[in-house]
């Protein structure tokens, strides 16, 4: 099988054929999810723990539904309210959980690299649900699935990613994934929200949104965090909307059949005009949410297969891996 990873820590660590394998399986889960009988037994008997060190409703719900549809025992831990407040370190928390023999650990953490660190210390499969400004691999995979289904392919497309690139793990994972699949990438946003030397990743950089959107097949908008709007990175919300908010006029520079994406939650009237977000001919934002569940099912299914294979080859039903 071409998906042989033990963890899903980032797109950086995936080869193109592994990405294709995962998306193909996700396509089948989309069909399952649309059928009246939504259940499978792929994860039956396995325990999935969702550890969110940073608040998230949507991603956590998506992982929870994905796990439950596959028959896993799912447990949510609200980590902000838990032991970290009592001074326990991330590693101690990981070791404590590890002692309970989970099989899948879904982790979101406010610091880049925290999920990699945790993965070194546990015996189960770890899925990165977003770490700091580093990666958010399932978001990039669900975006890829959405694009592939809408455009019929995932290569030789012109994709524009717009907004706060610097603080966005969604942007990083998408840059890596779409780059690996050989697409033309453009990053558009104010220079204060552009990461240093990002041009060396083989992307084109634009300050001007109309120029950047010229001929784009896919327009991917990013959320602008409220705390960045205070004059530190951009002068004001209204100037941002004027220059980088997606409205009908700016979108008219993209291809007529260009699709509009957003990872949510949206700030209507800041980075995107409400009517565009709701335009069913252009916006695929609701499909993204649907694809999210399917992609997460596929990712957990594949990791669980690898986990079981590894345990069998060790001839040890207790699930000890090194």
């Amino acid at each position: 099988m071409s998906f042989d990873a033990r963890h899903l820590l980032g797109i950086e660590y995936l080869r193109p054929d592994a990405i294709r394998t995962l998306l193909d399986l996700a396509d089948r889960y989309v069909d399952l999810n649309r059928s009246p009988q939504k259940h499978s037994t792929a994860l039956a008997g396995l325990t999935q723990i969702n550890m969110f060190f940073e608040a998230s409703t949507r991603t956590q719900a998506s992982f929870e539904i994905a796990g439950k549809r596959l028959g896993a025992d799912v447990m949510n831990m609200a980590m902000q309210a838990s032991s970290l407040k009592k001074g326990e370190t991330l590693i101690d928390t990981a070791l404590t959980l590890n002692a309970m023999h989970p099989d899948l650990l879904v982790v979101r953490h406010p610091h880049s690299g925290a999920v990699n660190l945790l993965a070194e210390k546990v015996n189960c499969a770890v899925l990165n649900a977003g770490d700091g400004r580093h990666e958010h691999p399932t978001q990039a995979l669900l975006d890829a699935l959405t694009i592939r289904r809408k455009k019929g392919r995932l290569h030789r497309l012109t994709v524009a990613i717009c907004g706060d690139i610097a603080h966005s793990r969604v942007a990083r994972s998408n840059i890596l994934l779409l780059g690996k699949m050989e697409n033309r990438l453009r990053l558009i946003g104010p220079p204060t929200l552009m990461p240093a030397r990002i041009g060396e990743f083989g992307v084109e950089i634009y300050d001007d949104m109309r120029e950047g959107l010229q001929g784009a097949d896919v327009v991917m908008m990013l959320r602008l965090q409220k705390e960045r709007m205070d004059g530190g990175f951009i002068p004001s919300e209204r100037e941002y909307y004027h220059r980088w908010g997606l409205d009908a006029d700016k979108l008219s520079h993209a291809k007529p059949d260009a699709i509009v994406m957003h990872p949510g939650p949206m700030n209507r009237g800041v980075e995107i005009d409400g009517t565009i977000a709701d335009d069913i001919n252009r916006s695929v934002i609701q499909e993204q949410v649907e694809m999210g569940v399917a992609v997460r099912m596929a990712a957990m299914d594949l990791l669980a297969r690898n986990l079981r294979a590894a345990r069998e080859s060790e001839g040890d039903g207790k699930g000890v891996m090194v």
């Binding site: 880049s112 690299g113 990699n116 990666e135 793990r169």
Partner: protein, 428 residues
């Protein structure tokens, strides 16, 4: 102290003062170097060096020993053992302890601890401002009288230029040396890496290398204004070097230092968030590393130090942004520095200028030389001996070395302080 004179024979003598590297013998009497030569050695007690290299012992400025406050990270005893094993014969310790060494009383405590517990020479630096808070200057006069060799707030920048310029003015009147780690503190706030492709890929908060130049330019202007003795330590970027060169050419008597990690590692070594590579300032680009080596070779940078910073496992086993900065270096300074020699960047006499002679001169010490009358502080080493570093075999209490598992070349065979062998097999 050896009563009997001792001759170290059959050695290759590295003389940084003369810039020479030649076979010969060296004679020790009453803890001092009594002479050296190339012909037949004098009669009497002798140690055959087996054709290995004999150099002045390393004078390492900026060593952190975690007393008072964090003895579980490093004590004077363990730091002393590490120094002896690393060929470091004089440690100049940093004042960034808990509490800071900012009063004659604390200085007296560490002086006593150092004397009781360590086999190598130890001198102490004191903080420049009380509590290293950048607000009020310490009792520079009392501290100098009590033996402080320099004044520094270490990695904390005295951001208030009025406070900093008054400290320098006051220090000048006493002839006291002020050491700073130049950095623009606001621009670099919260940074865990150097801005660039690597930090962008890893999603780490990063600082432009220009922050170091901004800090250095500010300091140099204040040095010009006050005339104080100033050493810019822990420089790491190519961007800062033109400012240093201009100051030198203008006749400003400033000196500068670099730590060994910025000469031998770059930002890519951080890899998948390896926190033993989290330093302050952060590791830089390969271009910066090569520029720093060039600056050492041409003498623009005077001193190489280990910037020995012990951290326990707990403070390193954290997400990269949250982990503590710094690395231990006493035992790896020489083998790491020899990478520059093996790589053809620098000669051994020039290397020992930066490791021994220049730091000794800066601190007003008579060591760092092989000349007659200098203290017999010596290191005998085999620069070719290969080994794989195992961090758990370090003598430091803390094992946070970026060289764990690294292939290195160059081992210390024996270390002498005041003519007495404090490390290595007898008769080596």
């Amino acid at each position: 102290m050896s009563e009997q004179p001792l001759t170290l024979t059959n050695a290759i003598l590295i003389n940084p003062e003369a810039g020479t590297e030649s076979p010969g013998w060296l004679r020790i009497e009453n803890g001092m170097i009594a002479g050296s030569g190339a012909g037949a050695p004098p009669k009497g007690r002798a140690i055959d060096c087996g054709g290995k290299y004999l150099a002045p012992g390393i004078v390492d400025i900026g060593v952190k020993v975690c007393e008072p406050g964090e003895r579980h990270k490093e004590s004077y005893r363990t730091a002393g053992l590490a120094a002896a094993a690393g060929g470091v014969t004089t440690m100049i310790t940093r004042p960034d302890t808990l509490p800071a060494i900012d009063s004659p009383e604390v200085l007296e405590f560490v002086t006593r601890r150092a004397r009781e517990a360590a086999p190598v020479n130890i001198r102490h630096m004191a903080a420049l401002t009380k509590g290293r808070e950048g607000r009020e200057m310490v009792e520079i006069g009392f501290l100098a009288d009590a033996g402080a060799v320099a004044f520094t707030d270490c990695d904390r920048v005295v951001a208030d230029t009025k406070v900093f310029s008054r400290c320098l003015t006051y220090a000048r009147a006493l002839g006291a040396l002020v050491i700073a780690h130049p950095q623009e503190p606001i621009l670099s706030r919260g940074a865990a890496a150097t801005s660039g492709k690597f930090a962008s890929l890893r999603g780490l908060p990063a600082v432009s290398p220009m922050a170091e130049r901004l800090g250095l330019e500010r300091d140099l202007a204040i040095v010009e204004m006050t005339g104080a003795r100033y050493h810019a330590d822990n420089l790491s970027t190519a961007a800062a070097l033109p400012a240093l060169r201009r100051a030198r050419e203008a006749g400003l008597g400033v000196t500068a230092g670099v730590n060994i990690h910025h000469l031998t590692l770059n930002e890519l070594d951080i890899g998948d968030y390896r926190t033993f590579f989290k330093l302050k300032p952060p590791l830089r680009s390969e271009e910066d590393r090569l520029a720093m080596i060039g600056a050492v070779r041409e003498g623009l940078i005077d001193v190489i130090s280990s910037m020995h910073t012990p951290q326990d496992e707990e403070s390193k086993r954290l997400p990269f942004e949250e982990a503590a900065s710094g690395a231990v270096g006493l035992e790896t300074l020489l083998p790491a520095a020899l990478r520059l020699w093996h790589g053809g960047h620098i000669s051994l006499p020039a290397l020992f200028c930066a490791l021994a002679l220049n730091p000794a001169r800066l601190m007003g010490l008579p060591s760092g030389r092989l000349s007659k009358g200098a203290p017999a502080d010596l290191v005998l080493f085999d620069p070719h001996k290969p080994f794989v570093l195992d961090r758990f075999r370090l003598r430091s209490k803390s094992k946070n070395t970026p060289f764990d598992g690294a292939r290195m070349q160059g081992r210390v065979l024996a270390t002498f302080v005041g003519g007495r062998q404090i490390f290595g097999k007898e008769g080596n």
